[in-house]
């Protein structure tokens, strides 16, 4: 039986994010992320003057782009992309040159000092390949992120992108980011 084509993506409803950091710690545990490094984060935008104020929170991690600049610039082929869209680093081939970190428009990568390689969000591929969802998606108290396969027309991500307005970050880079922020 031929495997159906997949394209993984995250749809993010930032309005529901309360900056509780559960996703950040879950990622840290799930992926052994070193202290001082993060594979995901919550951006904060604070505006206004007392008492006219607002705060917006925006979770962010690797956008697992359609045409990822990190993969294009990698001199050894260590940065690569699976057919389902997940962008990964092959640690055996990474020489730690960090070009990919500069090339990423989203500051989604970090240098693992202890191992001498660049690392990043893997969309918890080890979980996803078993049919589970990424740790950041699962643990979230308000279920800000929705994970799924855009090629599957019955998926929640497909439904959300078909019925809701959304934006992507830095579209002008031509990277084709796959983190979709609902408006």
């Amino acid at each position: 039986m031929a495997m159906k084509k997949k394209r993984y993506a995250l749809v993010i409803d930032s309005r529901k994010c309360i900056n509780c950091k559960a996703c950040v710690v879950a990622c840290k545990a799930e992926n052994n992320v070193p202290i001082g490094n993060f594979r995901n984060r919550i951006n904060e935008e604070r505006k206004g003057e007392y008492p006219k104020l607002s705060i917006n929170f925006e979770p962010e991690q690797c956008h697992h782009c359609a045409d990822p600049s990190c993969v294009r610039v990698c001199p050894t082929g260590a940065s690569w992309q699976r057919k389902d869209g997940i962008v990964l680093v092959n640690y055996d081939e990474c020489i730690g040159c960090r070009y990919c970190m500069v090339a990423c428009p989203y500051d989604a990568r970090y240098f693992n000092e202890a191992e001498g390689v660049v690392d990043k969000c893997t969309l918890c591929r080890h979980r996803v390949d078993k049919g589970d969802i990424p740790a950041c998606v699962e643990t979230c108290p308000s279920k800000v992120r929705v994970f799924g396969d855009l090629e599957d027309t019955t998926s929640r991500v497909h439904e959300l992108l078909s019925t809701r307005r959304y934006r992507v970050k830095e579209p002008q880079t031509g990277n084709g980011p796959q983190l979709y922020y609902l408006l």
């Binding site: 309360i18 001082g36 610039v73 428009p105 108290p141």
Partner: protein
């Protein structure tokens, strides 16, 4: 930014040849390692129950090669469902914390000096039993104090204190939620749950549920507000995450919430918008209320609260129109002001008159589940009266929990009798009580202090002997029923063997009991205790089920309205919901909430307000390495206007002084707070060097907070301190 980065990218792409050269140079440093450990046969998934806060969320521990690798949420729990907060996720680091208590220790230097001798468990038990016996022989068993905080194994500690003969158990409620619990009990005869998931209109004041602690209520409120479009009105002197998510935020003048609520009641009754049928059938004292609130007009309340009268009127109308699905949220930590009981009583009354009792989207009395009991050998009740004189001073308070701050006053004065030994379990009075200098005095006058904890808290740092408790992931605990709209039973079972020379609390209690001649009262194992509790659970094969799933919940939807029959008797004096309370009147308190304007800080002072952030909340989490990354030091929030007046710059250190102490903090000059108050977070500035990440970093609010309490419940009032702020 995007363009710049794109240019870099194009540059790098075109510079491929150079990249190749760099690659060649760096090949020598190549490090090989395998990522993503194999999920081989040694991986186990064990369900258990989180202990990092009192909410009992269900977790599944992923254990690889004897190590806890990950904690996943267990969706079978109807309350916590599929969430674990930042703290829940970080519980792994409680086990593998290098600062952890690793073996029993006896103090060899002066108290607080930090000189310790590692000892065997036998030595630690012998030492503590000898000291406790000396105090008992000299002063009587009531001269011992037993302090503890909510926990599944707390029962064993309390039973040790009681069987030793001391009536002086003192628990955390009067540092936390005693006033809100007493206010709702006094009105409804019980403390209900709030059906935030289904509510249409929520008012929150004296609570910050999107920020300060992440619990099932937080999830429900997000569901209600963000998905089902419930309206959220939020009052807070500070612009918090909850304020950011609310439909309307009012920077209320601190301590005036009662005026706002009374004016709302005034509007609702004056306009006849209350639920007349409900009030007539289920409540008593409405007429007195109607008369009483005539004085509390919205115009009057505007002057007190600084919330415009027109908004108070509109909010009151919208609230009453939402009726059964409107909620004035009760709050959790309610240790705010000296009138806190009456403020929460007014909320309870407001909720009552719109008829949200036992309704979907309203307040719901908690459903319970039966649980078996282990029958242990009983002891004689302690003979002496309590040292805090609760029955006399706070006749309506929960006597068994004690009133902490009154207790400390009495211990310091030595009246009605001396206290000379202090045993502490799972609590840090050095940081959770105001006025640390007083707590230190209390410590000084003890002949003996023993502390049971997972880590070297500030209290443990001042102890004579420290008993290291196993972390929750290393223990099996008693079974807990979680009453609620969706009641559940949860079980905490051992996930990994203790990695250090630690013991579960029961075994520590048994070690002491044996040497105190009380061994017979504790002659059982945790397994026997737990199996007895499993017995009456309404589950076939309860033991097997709980070990396999970690949680059990009744299936089906919650049923609302079970108490809405005219012959239902509420557990109050009159059997009705008591708007006017004779019981309060007889005890010498206001039978209806009476407003008194809070004293305002003099010109050069600020009211100090406190708060929490959900990834720490309690003082015992700030040394967790995964949580510490989010905030390394606490700071002092101050509005730009007063900051400019005082010449205080953002990020510069300032001294913050009250009548009892002074601390240094970094200033955060921010428009997200009113100009008349300043704010700091709890949990920093530790004295214990074994809290290495936060030792002497930032400041502890306990150093500058003054002692004050709510008159009715005895709950601490943490927002009644005025401070002076100056460049340090």
């Amino acid at each position: 930014m995007g363009t710049i980065r794109m240019d870099r990218r194009l540059f790098l792409k075109s510079a491929g040849a150079t990249a190749g050269a760099v690659a060649a140079l760096q090949v020598g440093c190549l490090k090989y390692f395998k990522k993503g450990r194999s999920s081989a046969g040694d991986t186990k998934e064990i369900p258990t129950t989180c202990e990092l806060c009192p909410n009992k969320c269900s977790a599944i521990a992923v254990v690889e090669g004897g190590f806890v690798k990950k904690l996943n949420p267990n969706p079978e729990n109807p309350k916590s469902r599929d969430m674990l907060c930042a703290r829940g996720n970080a519980a792994i680091k409680q086990v593998y914390d290098p600062d952890r208590l690793k073996q029993p220790m006896i103090r060899v230097g002066a108290r607080g000096e930090g000189k310790w001798k590692p000892v065997s468990w036998d030595e630690a038990f012998d030492f503590a039993a000898k000291k406790l016996s000396e105090v008992k022989d000299k002063y009587g068993p009531q001269a011992s104090l037993w302090s503890s905080t909510e926990g599944f194994q707390e029962v064993f500690f309390k039973n040790l204190g009681l069987s030793f003969g001391s009536p002086n158990l003192v628990r955390h409620p009067t540092l936390c939620l005693a006033s809100v619990n007493l206010a709702y009990s006094a009105t409804f005869g019980t403390v209900p749950s709030f059906d935030l998931l289904n509510s249409k209109f929520v008012i929150m004041s004296g609570a910050n549920r999107f920020e300060s602690i992440i619990t099932p209520d937080t999830m429900d409120l997000i569901g209600g507000v963000m998905e089902r479009k419930a309206k959220l009105v939020y009052l807070d002197p500070r612009f918090t995450v909850t304020a950011a998510k609310a439909d309307e935020w009012y920077p209320i003048k601190p301590g005036t919430d009662l005026a706002f609520i009374l004016a709302m009641i005034h509007v609702i009754i004056a306009e006849g918008r209350h639920s007349k049928d409900f009030v007539a059938t289920y409540t008593t004292g409405f007429e007195q209320l109607a008369e009483h609130v005539k004085q509390y007009t919205p115009e009057w309340a505007e002057k007190e609260t600084e919330i415009p009268a027109k908004d108070i009127v509109r909010i009151a109308r919208e609230f009453a129109d939402a009726g059964a699905r409107a909620l004035y949220y009760a709050g959790r930590r309610s240790s705010w002001y000296q009138n806190d009981f009456q403020m929460r009583r007014a909320q309870a009354i407001l909720n009552a008159i719109v008829g949200n009792w036992d309704q979907m989207g309203g307040m719901v009395p908690n459903a319970k589940l039966p649980k078996g009991e282990f029958l242990f050998m009983p002891w004689d009740e302690p003979k002496a009266p309590r040292v805090d004189e609760v029955q006399k001073e706070f006749p309506l308070a929960a006597a068994g929990d004690g009133v902490y701050l009154k207790l400390r006053e009495n211990v310091l004065s030595g009246k009605p009798y001396p206290i000379k030994a202090w045993m502490v379990y799972k609590q840090d009075p050095m940081n959770s009580l105001p006025d640390q200098a007083k707590t230190l005095k209390m410590i000084e006058q003890m002949d003996f202090i023993g502390v049971i904890d997972v880590q070297m808290s500030d209290m443990a740092w001042y102890a004579d002997v420290v008993f290291p408790e196993s972390a929750y992931l290393e223990r099996t605990d008693p079974v807990e029923v979680m009453p609620g709209i969706w009641p559940a039973v949860v079980f905490r079972q051992q996930v990994v063997k203790p990695i250090h020379d630690t013991k579960p609390n029961l075994e520590i209690v048994q070690g002491l009991a044996k040497r105190l001649g009380l061994g017979d009262y504790f002659d059982y194992t945790i397994e026997q205790w737990v199996e007895a509790e499993f017995k009456d659970l309404p589950i076939p094969m309860a033991s097997e089920h709980m070990k396999k799933h970690g949680v059990w919940a009744a299936s089906g939807q919650p049923s609302y309205g079970k108490t809405l029959t005219p012959d239902h008797r509420f557990v109050t004096k009159t059997g009705k919901i008591e708007i006017f309370s004779e019981r309060l009147q007889e005890a010498g308190y206001d039978p209806l909430p009476v407003y008194a304007a809070p004293v305002q800080p003099p010109g050069d002072r600020f009211r100090l307000i406190l708060g929490r952030v959900g990834y720490f909340t309690h003082a015992n989490q700030s040394n967790n390495v995964w949580l510490h990354e989010f905030m390394k030091e606490n700071d002092l929030w101050i509005n730009p206007k007063p900051a400019e007046r005082l010449g205080i710059r953002d990020g510069a250190y300032v001294s913050v002084s009250s009548s009892v102490g002074s601390v240094k903090l970094k200033a955060r000059v921010t428009g997200e707070i009113r100009p008349d108050c300043v704010f700091m977070l709890h949990g920093f500035g530790k004295k214990s060097k074994m809290q290495s990440l936060v030792y002497n970093v930032g400041a502890s609010d306990a150093v500058i907070l003054e002692t004050a309490w709510d008159k009715v419940s005895g709950n601490a009032a943490f927002h009644e301190t005025f401070v002076k702020v100056a460049n340090a």
